[in-house]
Amino acid sequence: MSKLIVSGSPHVHGDESVKSIMFTVVLAMVPAMLVSVYFFGFNALRVLLIAVASAVFFEWVIQKYIIKGPLTINDGSAIVAGILLGFNVPSGVPAWMLIAGSLVMIGVAKMSFGGLGKNPFNPALVGRVFMLISFPVEMTSWPVPKPLFASAITDAITGPTALGLMKEGVAAGKTVEQMLASGEMPQYMERFIGQMGGSLGEISALALLLGGLYMVWKKVIDWQIPVAILLTVAAIAGIMHLVDPQHYVEPVFHLFSGGLMLGAVFMATDMVSSPMNMNGKIVYGIGIGLITIIIRLWGAYPEGISFAILIMNALTPLINNAFKPKRFGLVRK
């Protein structure tokens, strides 16, 4: 008999690993990827491929030549980050901008803090916000969706998102009703399925919700964060709509427009940058919802979920300290 191995208990381990979690997340993003390819065609595929390839490449280069640590790209987190970055940009964005965004995402937001698990901010959002501020024109030119097999629509034109239209229209003095009836605005069913202008991954609430449910079922995310965000946005939007329906559109419009669903399901739930205890997750979700709707209703940008998540990322350590899990056998004095 060879020598015995001695180690502390437990001597068995569950099936889950970082790799399996990342694989689950990728699988959950498949519906949204398919929808984006369906509506934006080859360009969507191009964006996703460039984003993933550059993210993996940058992580490999930085880990090998700057950090000089063990290979980390096989844990799949760079792939997830790449897809998320792709989800957050319009399909017409030039390749070099995407690669620059990817470098900021991996190089600045992730690896400079020490890699996976150490980054305080959601890397894909840092990359996205960097691109939005640096290249505002390209980042807000959303190609109009053109379903793969539909021949009727002629030229690929670009236009603003539903949220942008609404914001501009209301600012120009039109009422919500006029805007909704104007014909430029996508209908509810279109928005739910994803037939509207927008970034790659944000257009189809249906596909995102499917992915979200899959991740909840697989216990990769907790439902508390997305539900808290969506409820908060719906509640504030609902109150404002009741107060002044001429200037504030109803809450359902907000739920299925812009990046809210993508942010709530895939970005805010990022394990690394979100709080770790249940009550903390709810507070974090409410905070994101509040900041998002404030920016949407009264801010300069039509969309605010990216900023909201980044701001709440910064508060995560404080939330972790303030909200502890319920302890077993703790007697309240």
């Binding site: 437990p10 001597h11 381990h13 150490k118 302890r327 077993f328």
Partner: protein, 464 residues
């Protein structure tokens, strides 16, 4: 709540026997589901032949080791007192077989350290007088409370679930406290182990007599046997038998690790929460393992000291996973031999189950009172995976049955911030290993928690 449910309109009123006992319960907070792997569940308990030599370590109980009474060259009979527990928390040790004391020397024990032990060259199995070695079942519940405790103490009984706390001390309910429930642990939530399962199936009646005696000793009107529903045969069997005993019922529990933990079991069986840092008696409960209850029967009804126990021998590639009735002091290698011999690929031998058991440094280690199983793992299952960075998934927090944050405690322990460990309640950790089992980054969380508990405990003691 129960009443409310029964009275809902449209529902028939259930007969009185349909009480909470027929519903599955479990503890609420955390928990994991390791693969059960109960390979030896169908293997009836076999008596292992006496070995040529027994090594009986002195420190087999939690607390103070007993005082040695014999010397080299002494002839001893089976059941003869070898060492007397003189301190308050201590337990007697008896000769597991008759023979001659070969030497008193240090021997490796399950902890990997060398400790004082009595080496006996076995010549036979000649018992001391007054012990009933017959197989007939005796149910004499007229023994007085004091006599029950005295016989438990004389028999050197300790908790056989693994904690090895002297049983007679547990039976002495502190002044001002009242035991309402005797909670009997038949959970066996550790994967692989089946010794308690087999005992419940094969020695059910003796077990129930033992439970009745313990109820009398602690003045508890009710006893609840908690059994996970992966052992439906044991639940059914003990339910049938317990109808003949007053105050004893069986509670079927949902399978979830670590339900065999004292506090988790109380929560699951009687829905009470033992306060942090307190004993079960605080909520009117005394918890004992089924193996201990059987030993109480033997000690009180048959005057038989604790010199043997049921041990599961199981694991990867083992020819015949078995449950053996083994004399204390028998070498682990004899058990493995009897179960078909050590498989070639074995790289780890564990004393206990895979979640909380201790990896042995050698197979030449004696079975002690606290050994519930011997588990063999092949090399592919023996090494830990390479740890990665914490990805802050908080799965460790979700599965912690005590509501702690293992990732945080591990980090604080690593940084030697033990006062913060204390504030974050590290002393509540029951070392069940659920956090490390579930960690997707393969971090050795429990290693750091154990270290932190040790150091924090020292810190608290120096303050007093």
């Amino acid at each position: 709540m129960q009443q409310l449910l029964l009275r809902l309109p449209g529902h028939r009123i259930y007969p009185k026997c349909m009480n909470s006992n027929t519903m599955l319960t479990t503890f609420k907070m955390g928990g994991v589901h390791p693969p059960e792997n109960k390979l030896s569940a169908k293997a009836a308990i076999q008596r292992l032949p006496l070995p040529k030599q027994l090594i009986v370590p002195l420190g087999q109980n939690l607390g103070v080791a007993p005082k040695l009474l014999v010397k080299k060259g002494d002839e001893v009979k089976t059941g003869q007192l070898l060492a007397r527990g003189e301190a308050f928390i201590s337990a007697n040790i008896h000769a597991p077989a008759s023979g001659k004391i070969a030497k008193i020397d240090d021997a490796l024990d399950a902890s990997g350290y060398r400790r004082q032990a009595i080496f006996i060259d076995v010549t036979g199995d000649e018992w001391i007088e007054d012990v009933d070695t017959g197989s007939s079942i005796i149910a004499d519940l007229s023994v007085s409370k004091e006599d029950i405790i005295a016989r438990i103490k004389a028999g050197g009984l300790v908790g056989l679930g693994g904690a090895t706390f002297p049983t007679h001390v547990k039976m002495m309910v502190p002044n001002g406290k009242k035991a309402e429930y005797l909670v009997i642990n038949g959970v066996e939530c550790e994967p692989f182990l089946t010794s308690d399962h087999r005992l419940m199936l094969e020695r059910g009646e003796e077990l129930l007599i033992g439970i009745s005696l313990m109820m009398k000793a602690i003045d508890a009107p009710r006893a609840i046997i908690g059994i996970e529903n992966n052992k439906p045969d044991a639940i059914e069997h003990l339910r049938q038998l317990s109808s003949k005993f007053s105050g004893i019922s069986v509670q079927a529990l949902k399978v979830k690790y670590p339900q065999g933990g004292e506090k988790q079991l109380i929560k699951a069986a009687v829905n009470r929460e033992v306060p942090s840092g307190k004993l079960p008696i605080e909520v009117g409960c005394v918890v004992s393992n089924v193996g201990t209850a059987f030993a109480v029967y033997e000690a009180v009804q048959k005057n038989k000291p604790l010199i043997e126990r049921v041990v599961t021998v199981t694991g990867d590639g083992l020819a015949a996973p078995s449950n053996f009735l083994v004399r204390i002091g028998t070498s682990v290698s004899e058990l493995i031999q009897a179960a078909g011999g050590l498989p070639d690929d074995t790289a780890k031998i564990i004393n206990g189950g895979p979640m909380m058991g201790k990896a042995l440094v050698s197979s030449d280690i004696p079975v002690v009172k606290g050994s519930s199983g011997i588990l063999l793992l092949k090399s592919a299952n023996s090494s830990r995976k390479i740890p990665k960075s914490c990805i802050r998934c908080s799965k460790c927090t979700t599965v912690c049955p005590m509501g702690l944050e293992p990732f945080l405690l591990a980090k604080l322990s690593k940084l030697s911030l033990f006062d913060r460990c204390e504030n974050e309640r590290i002393m509540d950790c029951i070392e069940c290993g659920s956090c490390q089992f579930t960690c997707p980054s393969m971090l050795p969380l429990l290693d750091y928690l154990r270290l932190g508990k040790q150091k924090t405990g020292n810190l608290i003691r120096t303050r007093k």
